[in-house]
Amino acid sequence: MTNNNSGSKNEEEVGSYFLEVARGAHKKKEEEMEEDTEDEECPTELNTINSSGGFLVVSTDKISVKYPSVNLHGHDVGVVQANKPAPVKRLVYYFEIYVKDSGAKGQIAIGFTPDNFKMRRQPGWEPHSCGYHGDDGMLYRGQGKGEAFGPTYTANDIVGAGINYASHEFFFTKNGAVVGTVYNDVKGSLFPTIAVHSQNEEVHVNFGQKPFAFDLEDFEKQERMKQQMTVEKISLPPNVSHGIVRSYLLHYGYEDTLNSFDMASKTTVPPVHIAQENGFDEQDIMYALNERKTLRQLIKNGEIDAALGKLHDWYPQIVQDDKSATCFLLHCQKFIELVRVGALEEAVKYGRIQLAKFFGLAGFEDFVQDCVALLAYEQPRESSVGYLLEDSQREVVADAVNAMILSMNPNLKDSHGCLQSCLERLLRQLTACCLERRSLNGDQGEAFYLHRVLNIGKKC
């Protein structure tokens, strides 16, 4: 049975998949940094609107407070929250206070309180809040009575409060050292909170605008290592990494690497044997290995005409329909290559012949407009469409052609297998599981981002 019908359907699917990838590159540039740590707001200063009014005075720069009068009872605490709740999509949130003046009785507190907190009570004296108090060194978490926790603190001490989302704990520090932790079972957002309660107390707060006394980075490193150690204990089937790397090389057509890899694997001690039973199905991905490798080399060198020539010879059905997504990507890339070498007149001519037909076609329009926009700049590389000139763009086209050829395999069992390598599917699953787990956990904690994991240790 010829797979003509399903063939063209496959082609469409493959073509539009990679067109999406190419279009995605434009949006990616705008979100270069990791997705979520950027979109969550962080506390930057104290909230003067809902603080306990006349009991305290907040400085004009909103990072320090004073208690001017004499306190009379337990409901005239000078409490102030941060302007934003503690962000949750991270491993740890932390802030510090510096006690400038411990006043008459040193009744200072640091902790976390919810949105609707009674702003005349110490953090920890009301449910769903917690506070570490300087006068008695006790921890209060929702009841009038506190529990023995840590040392007292007074003038010139730097005291910190944090939420550890990995271990679901609050933790407090004094002058750079952790004094204790306590389980955090509060649901809902929490505001960093400080309080003063006796005459002349003065406290300055640091939400990260200055370096902390506590080594937060090291603390985070330790936490991550704890999780890493649990994960490392898990056992893997033998040689599974080897097999996944091999299938990656096969999938994308890295023929020379594959041959080298296979040869070296035979001589390792002990030699690595990949048996069919392991699940690696060579039939599908050995297909047209040499052709795919050749085409990838041509495209990665920007030799689009040569690539189109080879495709006409080997797989005419791929380049038959000039309006297909694959042809579109190839023609756009040819245009980009002409711009790259400065052959602008030729580029315009080429664009008129090959790209004009895509204006006004939904799905192609925004990408072709970006390509054409390259002509508008003297320094296209530095413009907003400069991403088109990067190697990654050639890579997308090479991957698209690779996938198209894979989809031509008459023995093709799984049409989706052409689109993504096994490694890619595993990495997507890992990312999605971590995100879902975090989402079911009140969105608290770190998710997994391959880009960050690969670049650990490369920060200065």
């Binding site: 990494s241 690696f280 490694l423 599917r425 595993l426 990495l427 599981c433 787990r437 997994f448």
Partner: protein, 198 residues
């Protein structure tokens, strides 16, 4: 949707309610997978990292040419390291020590290394207090340790990242199992999505 699938879905939801697990259908899950951004260059880096830490020098060089990915350490240092590893694995003690000297790591580390390698020098089992060192598996273990030690002395990570990521996947799925029913990958070598358990 056919009646059959409606019933299946409802059974899943009933079971999920009993254990208060969220049910995620294959369709919903595939959409989440699609939203994940994986860069090709990052995957290339992961593969290069594997080739380099496991010592596949030629393959790493070819991969650099074919993919344009730069290895994160100098490939020349791998060749030296692999030579030491092979010497240890084959039991060529003198050769191994010589090659370790060539690598020229810091003095104190060098002593440790030489001690480890020199343990292989005891050819006569009866004389050797730790005769099991002659065993091939011990030699392999020692070779592996030597490899790791050299990598560390050259301030490189001694383990490839890929196996850790695979373990993380298993861990993440186990964790998510507690709260949701969703399509799992049970076979890492095929990465096939299994339908959520009903």
């Amino acid at each position: 949707m056919s009646l059959f699938w409606i019933v299946i879905r409802q059974l899943a939801e009933i079971e999920a309610m009993a254990t208060s697990k969220k049910v995620i259908t294959k369709e919903e899950w595939e959409k989440k997978l699609k939203d994940v951004k994986i860069r090709k260059e990052d995957m290339n880096k992961l593969v290069m990292n594997f080739l380099v830490t496991e010592g596949y020098v030629d393959a790493a060089e070819k991969f650099r040419l074919e993919s344009g990915t730069e290895p994160d350490i100098d490939l020349a240092t791998i060749t030296d390291r692999m030579a030491v590893k092979k010497a240890v694995q084959s039991g060529n003690v003198e050769d191994a020590i010589e090659k370790v000297n060539d690598l020229n790591p810091e003095q104190s580390f060098l002593e440790e290394l030489e001690k480890t390698v020199a343990l292989l020098a005891f050819e006569d089992v009866s004389n050797c207090p730790v005769g099991e060192l002659l065993d091939i598996s011990q030699r392999l273990k020692t070779a592996s340790e030597v490899n790791a030690a050299i990598l560390t002395s050259q301030s490189h990570e001694k383990d490839p990242k890929l196996p850790s990521l695979l373990k993380m996947l298993i861990w993440a799925q186990n964790q998510l199992d507690e709260k949701a029913a969703y399509p799992r990958i049970n076979d890492l070598s095929t990465a096939k999505l299994e339908d959520p358990a009903v």
